[in-house]
Amino acid sequence: MTIELKKLTKRFGTLTAVDAIDLNVGDGEVLCLLGPSGCGKTTTLRMVAGLEFATEGDVLLAGKRVNDLAPRDRNVAMSFQFYALYPSLTVAENLAYPLYAEKLSAAEISKRVAQVSKTLQLDGILKRTPGQLAEGEKQRVAVGRSIIRDPKCFLFDEPLSRLDVQLREEMRGEIKEVLQDLSRPTVIVTHDQLEALTMADRIAVMRDGRIEQVDTPHNVFQRPSNLFVAGFIGTPQMNLVPATLKGSDGAGIAEFAFDGGQALKIQVDPAVSQLSPGAKVTLGIRPRNLEICQDPVEDSLSTKIDMVEPMGAETLAHMNDGYRDLRVVTDWRVPLAEGDHVHLRFPPGVTHIFTEDEQVLRSAT
C-alpha cells in the first residue's frame, strides 16, 4: 500500500495553500512533512484524509484515486493535533471507537483494545476519561486510537506539539518505536525539525505550499538542497556566510573572500569549479563543524568570542569579527571566555556552497 500525491493543489480563494505537489509514501514508510507554520503541510495531510478537498490534482491510496471519497470511505487513520479524544468516553471506549464501523464482535474489540493498551502502556488508565489524563497519556491514547485498526495509511498531525519539552523527548522515542511496527505508509506533519529528524524515514521539507526537498533525515541534514532547508534544519542554526569565490583548484579546494577582507581556502564540493571566480556565494557550515583554534593557523578566520552559552555537555559560543556572527558549538570542556580572540577553521568536506539562486552546489553522487 502506498500514498501517492499527484500535482496536488489547494486554493482557498486567491491563496494557494498547496501548490501542485508530487509525493510518494511507500508501504511501511514514515514520511514527515516539515515546514514552518502556514507552509501547507497540514492542508496536505487533510487532503489525504479527505477532510479537505483538492482543488486540483489527485490523491491515490493504494493506487486508487480517492479524491471524491468521504473520509469515512477512505479507510485512513488519523491522529489530530489536539488529540480529538472523545471527552465523554473512557480511554477504552475511545480506543474501541474506530472498531465499531468494522462490525467486530465485542470480544474481538476488547482483545484489540487490550493489545493496543499493552503496547502503549495504557492499562492503568483504561477506565478514565480524557479529562483525567495527563498530556502525555492523552497523546498515547490518540496514537492508540489511530493504530488500533488496519487502515490504508496513518496520518499524524503535529503529534507532539502540545507536550512540554521533556515529555516531547520521551514521546519521540516512544512513537518511533510504535511506528517501526506498523507496516503502512505513515505521514507525520510537524513544524519541529527535531521531531522530523527523529521519527521519519524520509522528510519532505515544505515552504509556501511547495516541497523544497524530500530525503532521508541524514541527507536532509547533511546534504540540504537549498538555503532554506539548510537554515531550517539543525539547531543551533547553520552558519550561513556570504562570500566571494576567488578561485578553485578543481579538486574542491577553493578560496573565498569574506566581507572585511579575510580570505581563506576551504575544501568544498568539487562542483565549485563550475563557478567562475568573483561569483557571490553563501557558505553554510554547521556550528558543530567549525573548529576553534586558540592560535592563528593557516586558512582560519580570526574572530572574537562575543558570547558564551553553556548548554550542559556542550557550549554554544557566538563569535563576532565585526562583520558577521558565527555560532560554534564545542564540548563543555573547551575553555572559552568572552572577548577572547580565536581562529575558526573550516574542516574539509563540511562546508556547503549555495549559489545566488539559493540552490546548493553539489556534484552528483
Binding site: 518511533k176 518505536e177 529528524l197 539547531t235 558543530r288 558570547m307 553553556p310 550542559g312
Partner: protein, 359 residues
C-alpha cells in the same frame, strides 16, 4: 553587595503551599535564573518580589532597603510576563511609553526613549499598531521593551519564552543575554527549561516545592549536581541513573558490567546511585574497558543522535555525532565505554551528592 535579598518567604493558597522558606540573593547586575518545574513556586516568588503578591512570612530587600511593605508601584522593578501582558487597547508606542508616564518625563523625552527602545528591539515598524496584530516574536520584543524602557534596577522575567515556538526560543535566548550585557541591569529569570537556565544565567537557583535547593553557576550545576533532583533536571538528554554497589575501596559494581570498575576515592561496602551523563558515554575502540551493548533506538537530532542502548538489561542513553551514528542501525551490537571520573555519586536514600573523598 547583593542587590536583591529574598529571605525565607512563605505563601499559601488555601491548602496549597506555594512558597515555603524561599531564600536567595542576587548580586547587582547579575543574571539569575530560577529553574524549576511548573507550580514549584517560581511565579509566586517573582510576584512576591514585585509586590504583586502578599506574603505570610519573610522579607524582601532590594537596593539595600527592606521593601516588603512598599507597594508595587514604588519598588522600581519591572516584569515581563509569561502572557506578555501587553495593553491590548493601547498602541505599541503607548505600551512602551506607559512606564515613563509616572517619571514626569516630557513628551519629547518619552518619544525619544520609546524610539530608542523600539530601535534596540527592532519593533520600530510596529509602533502605531495594536499588540494583537503583532507576531509572537514581536509581542515578546514589545514586552521586553516595555519592561526596560523605564530603566528599572531589577527586571523580573516570568517564563517569557514559554509561549514562543522552538526556533524563536533559541533566538530570543541569545537576545536576552545580549540585552543583559548591554543594559547591565539585574535580571531574575524564572523558567522550567534547563537549557534556558544554563545558557543565560550567571547563576541558577534550582527550585523544588517552594524553595531553592541548589544555587550555582550553570557549569557547576552541570558538573557537580548537588543531588539527584538537580542532576536529573539539568542536562539533555537526561542523566542515566544506575544503582550500584561498592565491593571494596575503589571498586564499583555497575549493573551493566560483569566486573567492578576502578574508581579511586570510593569506599567499599555501600549502595550508591550513580549518575552517568549520556554525553560521557563513548564508543569503545576495543579492549577490556569495552562494554557490549545493543542499540535499541536511535533518535537523530541533526548533528548528534541519541542512541538508546541496552547493556545487560540496563537501558541507557548516549549521544553520538550524526555522521558516526548514521553507520549504525537499530539492533546493532556496539561497544561503549566511559571514564570513571565522569561518574556522579548520590546517596540512594536522600539523593544527596557524595563527593569522592567522602564516599
Amino acid at each position: 553587595m547583593s542587590e536583591l535579598k529574598v529571605d525565607n518567604l512563605r505563601r499559601t493558597f488555601g491548602k496549597v503551599v506555594a512558597l515555603d522558606g524561599m531564600s536567595f540573593d542576587v548580586a547587582e547586575g547579575e543574571f539569575f535564573c530560577l529553574l524549576g518545574p511548573s507550580s514549584s513556586g517560581k511565579t509566586t516568588t517573582l510576584r512576591a518580589i514585585s509586590g504583586l503578591e502578599e506574603l505570610e512570612r519573610g522579607r524582601v530587600h532590594f537596593g539595600g532597603r527592606d521593601v516588603t511593605e512598599v507597594p508595587v508601584q514604588g519598588r522600581g522593578m519591572s516584569m515581563i510576563f509569561q502572557t506578555f501582558a501587553l495593553y491590548p487597547h493601547l498602541s505599541v508606542e503607548a505600551n512602551l511609553a506607559h512606564p515613563l508616564r509616572r517619571s514626569g518625563a516630557s513628551g519629547a523625552d518619552i518619544r525619544k526613549r520609546v524610539g530608542e527602545v523600539a530601535e534596540l528591539l527592532r519593533v520600530t515598524h510596529t509602533l502605531k499598531r495594536k499588540p494583537t496584530t503583532l507576531s509572537g516574536g514581536e509581542q515578546q520584543r514589545v514586552a521586553i521593551g516595555r519592561a526596560i524602557v523605564g530603566r528599572p534596577k531589577l527586571l523580573l522575567l516570568d517564563e517569557p519564552l514559554t509561549n514562543l515556538d522552538a526556533k524563536l526560543r533559541d533566538e530570543m535566548r541569545t537576545e536576552f543575554k545580549r540585552l543583559h550585557r548591554e543594559l547591565g541591569m539585574t535580571m531574575l529569570y524564572a523558567t522550567p527549561d534547563q537549557i534556558e537556565a544554563l545558557t543565560m544565567g550567571d547563576r541558577v537557583g534550582v527550585i523544588r516545592d517552594g524553595k531553592v535547593v541548589a544555587i550555582g553557576t550553570p557549569r557547576d550545576l552541570y558538573r557537580e549536581p548537588t543531588d539527584t533532583y538537580v542532576a536529573g533536571m539539568i542536562g539533555s538528554p537526561p542523566i542515566n541513573f544506575l544503582d550500584a554497589k561498592t565491593s571494596g575501596d575503589g571498586q564499583l559494581s555497575l549493573p551493566f558490567l560483569d566486573r567492578p570498575v576502578e574508581t579511586p576515592g570510593v569506599a567499599g561496602g555501600q549502595s550508591l546511585v550513580v549518575g552517568l551523563r549520556p554525553h560521557d558515554i563513548a564508543l569503545a575502540q576495543s579492549g577490556a574497558a569495552a562494554i557490549p551493548a545493543k542499540i535499541h533506538l536511535t533518535e537523530p537530532l541533526g548533528d548528534v543522535t541519541i542512541i538508546d542502548i541496552r547493556a545487560r538489561e540496563t537501558n541507557m542513553k548516549m549521544v553520538l555525532r550524526e555522521e558516526v551514528a548514521a553507520k549504525f542501525n537499530v539492533g546493532d551490537e556496539i561497544s561503549v565505554t566511559f571514564d570513571p571520573g565522569d561518574l556522579h555519586f548520590f546517596d540512594p536514600s536522600t539523593g544527596i551528592r557524595r563527593e569522592r573523598q567522602a564516599v
